[in-house]
Amino acid sequence: MVWKLLRKNISPVQIAGYALANLIGLAIIIGAVKFYTDISSTWHDEDSFFKKDYLIISKQVSTLQTAGVNADATEFFPDEIESLKQQPWVKKVGSFSSANFNVNMSMEIGGRGMSTYLFFEAIPDEFLDIAPQDWAFDPEHPMIPIILSKDYLTLYNFGFATTRGMPQLSEAVMSTLPINMTLTGNGFSETYPARIVGFSSRLNTVAVPQQFLDWANERYSSGEALNPSRLVVEVSSVGDPAINKYFDKYGYEVAGDKNDNSQAAYFLTVITTIVLAVGAIITILAFFILMLSIYLLLQKNRQKLHDLMLLGYTPFGVARSYYVLIGVINLSVLVLAIVMALWASSWWAPRLNDIGIESSSPLTAILVGVAIILVITLINILSIRRIVHRNFFD
């Protein structure tokens, strides 16, 4: 009966206008958050750990160096590394250290033995965000763990094995192959078993634990330690133009397409942020429409609210129907917005999948939507409560 009285001045057009506007705003926000979590989830993927914030840099190799002149020009000297560390966009710098001794690898594939000279590199563990099992070396029970570039496996499988009549190998098989490494230098020559513990499509080298390489260089290296020729740099924002400027100035090269990928990711983030802002603006405007509508409604029903309270109705008793109305509208908007956003994400998910980005859980996006609706509803209810209370006394 109270509802019959109070619903009278409710304007369905205003309510519909609000619901539609808020629906669009909220769907955009939830969608954008979903999109953002989708694309940022790839940054945490094992394979692409170098993609987001890590750059691998080296110096350009010139013809002179090939000819043997100025051979140490591709090394990074300590003062260069120090200068790099001083840049505001640099968070951390790690060096690739290389083996200063001879490595010979031998293995048996399909009954045929093969052996080849090899090299080792290592980077500090903190720059590895994959942590394969057994990523350590114990001289007492020697077993060298290796992370191999996927590219090498591809080269072998499709470039070498097919033309030489060798069996093709899967990653799993490769990991079980018994490998022997013969390390030679400083008057020693010793053979250790080794095992491939992981493949990386980003780390373009034959990587061993830093701890092992330090130990091996100590034992097999005759000369003094080499300066690193490659650095891994953790940067705060890969899209920062200052980075490219600095690299150009000193003639540093960024390995592979990582930088391009990073920039693509950076621009995706920027675009997502813009979309998010648009959604937020629409939602805020919709919120104001609703507030205005509520104010008008309560203004028109001022006398009725007052008279009901004159009969002994509590402010909550008279406002309850408005709370229910707001609650139902906002809840429907939320549900519809989530459905719309997820529907949109089901559209882009296969497309992102094509470029190797897997869909993420929609939980964050849904939580963001729920939080926004909760805040809106709370403010709505509080302002209705305030107005009704103000109408209690004449």
Binding site: L5, P315, D394
Partner: protein, 225 residues
């Protein structure tokens, strides 16, 4: 809250501040006096227009607070009551019939009564229908209030005011549009209900007063506002 006394202590509507020496305030037995109303007493407040009779009702009912001086329920200054307490009082201790009746025009006569009664669960619908019959408007029960004459609206509003337990009932010109026969019927109903509640009656008039005088055993106190 059981209200046994309503006490006015030097009360005066704010609009009269500065006019304390005007004749109507000067002769008033209410404004700027100490006045105690005790239940189950019956009080007939007689006033001329513009002397603040509806203001008095609104002050006591907690609807308006634009007065100076103090008003007490028992020993409680009513300006200290919270909204929650007022709502409670309006459901259990104080009944009111405002002069403008405040019926909702879009609701029927019966709905107007039930909107109060469902709050207090005081009467069964059958009993309310019998009250409408007693006041000779049973056929108006399902008519929208806006279609009723002022006299009919007054009777609906009176029944609505009775749909609750009360210690005092405040009636602001309850019978201004009723003939003397209806006036007496209404007066009897109110006096009976008040007696059943052991309650006080405060009624105002500018001429056509509620016929409490004509009921046996009822001796209302006349107060000049």
């Amino acid at each position: 809250m059981k209200i046994n006394t309503i006490k006015l202590q030097q009360a005066l509507p704010r609009v009269f501040v500065g006019a304390e020496n005007d004749s109507h305030v000067h002769v008033s037995e209410v404004w700027l006096r100490d006045l105690t109303l005790t239940r189950p007493g019956h009080y007939l407040v007689e006033a001329e227009s513009g002397t603040g009779k509806s203001s008095l009702c609104s002050f006591i009912y907690g609807n308006r607070r634009d007065y100076i001086g103090r008003i007490f329920f028992n020993d409680t200054d009513i300006s200290t009551l919270s909204i929650k307490q007022w709502c409670e009082i309006r459901r259990t201790s104080l009944a009111i019939l405002p002069q403008e009746m405040k019926l909702f025009p879009e609701l029927t006569a019966l709905e107007n009564i039930m909107i109060k009664n469902r709050l207090t669960n005081h009467y069964k619908e059958d009993y309310i229908m019998s009250l409408l019959e007693r006041l000779e408007i049973p056929d108006k029960a399902h008519q929208p209030a806006r279609r009723l004459s002022v006299g009919q609206q007054q009777r609906v509003a009176i029944i609505r005011a009775l749909c609750q337990p009360f210690d005092f009932i405040i009636l602001d010109e309850p019978v201004s549009h009723l003939d003397s026969r209806n006036n007496l019927t209404v007066a009897r109903l109110i006096a009976e209900t008040a007696a059943a509640n052991h309650a006080g009656i405060i009624t105002t008039s500018v001429g056509n007063a509620l016929s409490l005088d004509e009921i046996d055993d009822v001796k209302p106190t006349h107060i000049k506002l």
